[in-house]
Homo-oligomer: 260 residues x 2
């Protein structure tokens, strides 16, 4: 149960941009001590910018101002706004992946593993509440994945974690479905309560994307690639019924054990 390491893509903690906590007015600020521009700095600043001004405030022009530069300068390092959003998502994902708490206690049970992953994701969700919804909303790398969580990396981590602990393929895939649905529902609601204005959740239409599971670019994730078929199956209704049934049971128990 180990955690994959990732190339440092300009993590927030490394070169955290100093942005004052004063009046949040998108242009009325000191443009930050003008570090040399770089992709990593732009992405990190974008996250800070979104946490201050919201996703609606993230325009190339306003982000340029946060960096003390004209908007056009950004295009030397970032091909497009969409690519920037993807890079921001990756930054959050990497922060979960590289969380020291994730590595601690190496080989424990799958339960501990899943709990650490869940809490790791929750931690970054609460740390970047206004950026986090992007994780659930950007076009997934693997649209055939059901549910199509953004990070194939997480899926791979989750599946291998369970499989190494003796899970069968089928059960591991079912567990993944339950896990991601639970995690997304909880955290999106929790984060929205914190006041995130969740920006365009740009899921991609099935027409424009290979919904036919062409395993392009998933080769570096062997488990995901191997289980691709099972992962693409649509069990939405059955899972909906099952989760609903489970919820009803939990509510019934709450009702019975209640002392009025």
């Amino acid at each position: 149960l180990s955690i994959r390491d990732s190339k440092d893509d300009g993590g927030l903690d490394g070169q955290l941009v100093e942005v004052s906590t004063k009046t949040p007015t998108p242009g009325a600020d000191q443009p930050v001590a003008r570090q040399p521009l770089s992709r990593g700095l732009i992405v990190a600043t974008a996250v800070v910018h979104v946490e201050r001004f919201g996703l609606i405030g993230l325009t190339m022009r306003q982000l340029g101002q946060s960096l003390g530069v004209e908007a056009m300068a950004l295009y030397r390092y970032v091909p497009s706004r969409d690519d920037l959003l993807d890079a921001m998502v990756e930054l959050l994902i990497d922060e979960v992946t590289n969380d020291p708490d994730m590595d601690s206690g190496q080989a424990t049970s799958w339960q501990h593993y899943v709990q650490r992953l869940a809490h790791g994701v929750r931690r970054v969700a609460l740390k970047y509440p206004r950026t986090f919804p992007l994780v659930a909303s950007r076009p997934p790398e693997a649209p055939w994945l059901r549910p199509p969580l953004r990070s194939v990396d997480w899926v791979e981590m989750f599946l291998t974690g369970l499989l190494e602990d003796g899970f069968s393929d089928d059960v591991a895939v079912s567990a993944y479905r339950g896990f991601s649905s639970f995690l997304l529902g909880h955290l999106l609601l929790e984060v929205s309560a914190l006041g995130a204005e969740v920006g365009p959740l740009d899921f991609v239409t099935p027409d424009t994307t290979e919904t036919t599971g062409g395993a392009y670019g998933v080769r570096q994730f062997p488990t995901v690639a191997r289980l691709q078929h099972k992962l693409s199956e649509d069990h939405a209704l059955a899972e909906f019924e099952e989760s609903l049934e489970n919820l009803l049971e939990r509510i019934a128990i709450m009702k019975q054990t209640d002392v009025p």
Copy 2:
């Protein structure tokens, strides 16, 4: 366990706009047989437009084209684009509320009631997959609600349904939390698998909104108003832990009963 009726706000079924199912190119279409403009028609057409072109395609100018009219004409009937989005959400909510399946079998158990509500919401989510994410994303009418689901109407329905069946306030509120988190998680993921590009989920920031539970406009929802205090409490972490625990148990059972 009855369903509240609502003023007909130009429901889709009534005056469904004829839009051909041909090539989806935002302006290259017959501008529809030019019915007299009205707020109801605009909202209904907007939903159809979003289902064809996605939320990104919903600009005042393109929607104008779908109606055979210049964008500026819309402002006679719709104060702003944001107001239009809210009206679209309301249209979906009313379609759940007025679902004939919801009224059938009047006074049954709370289990049946919750199941009917869940399936009713799921039905409109699958019917309008590209519009549905707005329900989870528009600024909630009651931001102090945890989780802040859009429709106070639904919250009221849910709570009264349970209370009439003998639930205590506390358990009813807990049940609401579990229900909304489950429903949102499942349906957002299911709908995203259908290829919805979930548009700006514009949750509202706590600063700009009365996070202090000033019960403005909730007076027509007596149960929500009465339970406002309990509904505003933040139990996010405890609920997260509990749901996670429950998930782990379910996975463990799946694992045990698995025959490899």
